[in-house]
Assembly symmetry: C2
Homo-oligomer: 252 residues x 2
Amino acid sequence: MRVHSGLMQDSTTDSVSLSLCSSPSACTGTCLQCQVRALSVCGVLEGEEMAEFAALLEHTDLQPRSVLFLQGDAAAYVYTVTRGCVRLSKDLSDGRRQVVGFALPGDFLGLSLDKRFGFSADALDSVSLCRFDRREFTAFVERKPQLMRRMHEFAAHELTIAQDQMVLLGRRRAEERVAAFLLGWRDRLHKLTGADHTLALPMTRQDIADYLGLTIETVSRTLSAFVRRHWLVIIPDGVRVVDLSALKTAAG
Amino acid sequence: MRVHSGLMQDSTTDSVSLSLCSSPSACTGTCLQCQVRALSVCGVLEGEEMAEFAALLEHTDLQPRSVLFLQGDAAAYVYTVTRGCVRLSKDLSDGRRQVVGFALPGDFLGLSLDKRFGFSADALDSVSLCRFDRREFTAFVERKPQLMRRMHEFAAHELTIAQDQMVLLGRRRAEERVAAFLLGWRDRLHKLTGADHTLALPMTRQDIADYLGLTIETVSRTLSAFVRRHWLVIIPDGVRVVDLSALKTAAG
DNA sequence: CGGGTTATTGATGGTGTTCAAGGGGTGTGG
DNA sequence: CCACACCCCTTGAACACCATCAATAACCCG
């Protein structure tokens, strides 16, 4: 199995792993052993229900840069991410792109249970997923109120995050956007891997720019400015945060 | 009862009512007679369940410009809008503001069922609501899977809209934003009132600017440009769309 | 080493903001 | 009824932030 470069650490800069998930595939065993179960929608299922649910899923692996689905595709399946990072984006006809999110282990793709996907999904690194037939999944959810409830909690949480992102895109300056992105990313990785100061960034500068409504040049310049101020150090496929409080102040 | 200027039509420009809801209070009778029932979360309830649900609610009226709740407030209640327009906004400490949405009849406030509101809500005109104690509402929803399902559909729909708004805020030019706003607003009013070309705009230019991530001057200039091109006519408290296809082209 | 992709940095310019002034409608009080 | 104040909106002029254009550097992998 090929190891993605993003998962290995350049020995000259740091010895901490930048992997987004330590195990090559977190769900090789049963769901009960799955490391992301508590984080994902299935965390609410127990015993018999969990077994029934597990029978519906298929494990899927994606190579880096491969497409999971495209905006407008018929949503034959829905997914829970168990490893890696998935870029969620919407495209305009003239090539402009907006990244609406980055899905990490525990995140669910297809929350709306709609017939079609409203955005495209691409693997940024080696990704593992639990795949469910959408119709079977929907039918199952209908029979399990607490899973429906869990889905709604996830959707409501995503909605809150989306509203925060609207503030960022509508009203924040470039430096605030980049600082806020780094802090938000740090929080997510911290919950997943305990990462504290050394952050893996599996996405490109272009992806960050498309997420923040900026250009790649502005993202690059802003990161350079942060380095110049000794707020962070840029390392291969990531950053190390040096001055957290300065970043927090800059994020507003 | 004072009649808000936004609801009356200046006779020199147009004779079509700009009211967002024809009846002064759509829910004076029972819920079964409520005109927005089909549009709102309660549309999924029937017979006995509906009666039980109705026992939980209290009708509330709000004067124009009054505050329903503020960002960070404990969410004692959740609401369904039955009349008028509610501005949903988030504020930064330095006064910058992002409007995250405008709630119209049928819309639900408090979808996340969180302990606190993530945004502030203000009445833009005369507003009527059905108010529910949040804990009672949550408990009721737990017992009614189809209502939970309905809540989730609403949340998923809001999430889709929020993602579209991210594209608008991150990647669209000022003219595209204003055109898209007018078209989206037109669609919503069309579904509610059948409004076709003559649109009520109960919000100020500043509200539109805060929704689109622009300044009031840019919104004003852009609308003026549209008028100059004979795409629309500005009327008191609204606009009349003259060239719909041009607007659609401009929105991208 | 060479080709390709990604990232950085510099120079210039444009879109939208900021600052400023004035217009238009409405409500109030003399 | 008019004067006045107030708010919202419009318009103009100058500026700033970020985008665009361009060149180079760094990196990856063949």
